[in-house]
């Protein structure tokens, strides 16, 4: 009973937020100065006759009043994943198509690096909090604060200078070698070789954050009375840590990790730019440079939905590891 209501509530909340995001995205691009037709055709190098302009206006729905006419049309189109066409970056192509062409590359990069940084950060954070003030904690704490203070793109540039420029160990960018004559395992190795530095950058950039979150969360839990009770019962320290402390300390961590997905995505934009890695981050940068507003609006929408899904997943996971929230 409780579980179901919790799930429905969380999904309902996510849907409301989605509605907010869609509305926000709609109005954000309506405050753009200038004529939408001019904006869309800017740079495409074509001159439209008045009749063609009118036709395009009708097609885009900008002949109607902004609200409710255009709004309703926008919502309908968005729900069908019709986000318009790119004007400059990929002239004439559907924004959705362009986005999902690049998406797997970013998902691969961001997914594996986030998983690695969460694993390393959380495990180090547990040790750090448990052995508070000892050598391992102090060094990981210092390292984490330093890593936290480095912008992702600066870290990327430094790794690029070091490993690609100076040592010549890795290619300086791109998704794979331009020759395109590699197949099978060779090609896979080539792709991984290209992905390694951006992957390392993103992994290192977020270890610090997850370490600090897990460490402080564990410290909070260790101050609770049930930990003292567990120790007073004569339970082994390792057992107290694993069954009592870590389990409970993971709860707030899950939420914070989900919230940090927005930052990971932001990091992906700058890191993909540094390594010219052709994912959605670089795509959104290209859309920004060219002021390809339809594409920019589309990437922004997909990024927001991505973070929304991450948060919803965290909420559901939370319910799974902490039965209290289901019955509350």
């Amino acid at each position: 009973m409780g579980t179901q209501r919790y799930l429905v509530g969380k999904i309902g909340q996510a849907l409301i937020t989605l509605l907010f995001i869609l509305t926000f995205n709609f109005f954000l691009f309506r405050i753009l100065p200038g004529d939408p037709i001019r904006l869309l055709t800017k740079g495409a190098g074509q001159r439209l006759t008045p009749a063609e302009q009118q036709e395009m206006r009708e097609e885009l729905g900008v002949d109607k009043p902004v609200f409710p006419g255009q709004y309703v049309q926008y919502m309908g189109q968005t729900l069908r994943l019709d986000l318009g066409v790119s004007s400059i970056v990929a002239p004439g192509e559907d924004v959705t198509t362009v986005f999902f062409e690049k998406f797997p590359k970013t998902l691969f990069l961001v997914g594996t690096s986030t998983a690695a940084s969460i694993a390393i950060g959380v495990i180090l954070g547990i040790y750090g909090g448990w052995k508070r003030g000892q050598a391992l904690d102090m060094s990981s704490m210092t390292g984490s604060l330093v890593l936290y203070s480095i912008p992702e793109f600066v870290l990327g540039i430094m790794l690029l200078l070091l490993f690609s420029g100076w040592l010549g160990l890795f290619p300086s960018g791109g998704f794979e070698s331009a020759t395109g004559d590699l197949t099978g395992a060779d090609r896979l190795f080539d792709i991984l070789n290209h992905a390694f530095l951006p992957w390392l950058t993103l992994t290192l950039a977020f270890i610090g954050e997850f370490y600090l979150v897990m460490r402080s969360s564990l410290l909070d839990v260790l101050g609770e009375e049930y930990i003292s009770l567990a120790r007073a019962k004569g339970l082994r320290e390792k057992f107290v840590l694993r069954k009592h402390a870590v389990r409970n300390a993971l709860l707030p961590t899950v939420t914070l990790i989900a919230l940090s997905f927005g930052f990971v995505l932001g990091g992906a934009i700058t890191v993909e730019l540094v390594f010219s890695y052709p994912g959605v981050g670089l795509l959104s940068f290209e859309a920004l440079e060219a002021r390809d507003y339809a594409l920019l609006q589309g990437t922004f929408l997909f990024f927001s939905i991505g973070v929304l899904v991450a948060n919803l997943t965290a909420d559901l996971l939370y319910a799974y590891i902490d039965p209290r929230v289901r019955t509350a």
């Binding site: 753009l32 604060l145 480095i150 992702e152 600066v154 540039i157 200078l161 402080s216 930052f263 002021r291």
Partner: protein, 318 residues
């Protein structure tokens, strides 16, 4: 222990005015605070780095603006390099080397320190004001206002920060004030949540209830009880938001959204990157502004953590 509730020792013969008592209290509170802060090695390191950079920002006021101009570059100013061999690596003449236009990287970094710090501070003031306002209102008013304000906060918390800032900057234009506004208006949700939590716990204290029973208005309760107790948390949080704001400015500038007329560490890295500093191995051009960002952000983060430990007694007890 509240910082402003120190036992005041009044000598019986001495009659002091309210103002004197308040000053004594403040001085005592500050010296106790300082004694605690001094014990934090992280906090002290952070403060020393900060003082260094604030000194640098102040000294930037004495830079002759014309030395930043590309036209002021002469054969002598770039010696031992020539115009054909720019950017010039570090040498006795230009200790941190020059950029591709022959301008001294050291001068640029010093000039950038002022703008980067100002952006960080002003943006975090905006963050603090909005966050505090939303947090206190939500926590104090409760019910519908709370739900409404927190839903809005959650909404801004969920939207990925950098893509939002990119979209806003693309729409609103590239100018330092727009940049400050964007950073300030997009980073408040975290502060709002923190302030709300603190407000809720202060509200539970019996003295708040008592003062209300004695007829205090909402405004009086907020200004006399809630705000003074929430202020330390806001302050510690603001130190951390300065770090975030400086990171934000550098990221946006790196993406080419900085103010082209002003030198910040972010725009320096952007210019170096765009000019291919990596492929020609001009590490000095990238290193100085990068290291400056890292050190300043680290300094603010260290100070923020140290303050947090003092202000949040739950951490200190362990």
């Amino acid at each position: 222990m509240k910082l402003d509730e120190a036992p005041v020792e009044v000598e019986p013969t001495e009659i002091r005015t309210g103002r004197q008592i308040r000053w004594t209290r403040r001085r005592d509170a500050f010296s106790r605070f300082w004694a605690q802060y001094r014990r934090s090695p992280f906090g002290m390191v952070g403060m020393i780095i900060l003082i260094f950079f604030i000194g640098m920002a102040i000294s930037s006021l004495f830079i002759d603006g014309s030395s930043l101009s590309k036209t002021a570059v002469t054969e002598e100013s770039i010696a031992p390099c020539t115009f054909a061999t720019l950017p010039c690596p570090p040498n006795a003449n230009n200790p941190l080397g020059t950029d591709a236009d022959g301008r001294s990287v050291l001068t640029l970094v010093i000039e950038g320190s002022r703008v980067s710090l100002i952006v960080g501070f002003t943006a975090s003031v905006i963050t603090m004001v909005i966050g505090a306002l939303v947090g206190i209102l939500a926590g104090y008013l409760g019910r519908t206002s709370d739900t409404l304000l927190m839903r809005t906060t959650d909404f801004f918390l969920v939207i990925p920060w950098l893509p939002l800032a990119i979209v806003l900057a693309a729409i609103l234009g590239q100018n330092i004030f727009v940049l400050i506004a964007i950073i300030g208006f997009t980073s408040w949700p975290g502060t709002a949540r923190l302030v709300r939590a603190q407000t809720l716990s202060v509200k539970e204290h019996s003295y708040v209830e008592r003062s209300r029973a004695l007829g205090a208005t909402n405004g009086q309760v907020v200004s006399r009880h809630i705000l003074p107790n929430v202020m330390p948390v806001i302050f510690a949080n603001t130190i951390l938001t300065v770090a975030i704001a400086i990171l934000a400015e550098s990221s946006l500038s790196f993406l080419g959204l900085g103010d082209p007329r002003r030198v910040t560490w972010g725009t320096m890295i952007d210019a170096a990157f765009d000019a291919g500093a990596i492929s020609i191995g001009a590490w000095w051009w990238l290193l100085a502004p990068s290291l400056s960002i890292v050190l300043v952000v680290l300094a603010f983060t260290l100070c923020g953590y140290a303050l947090d430990e003092i202000i949040n007694p739950r951490i200190r007890e362990r």
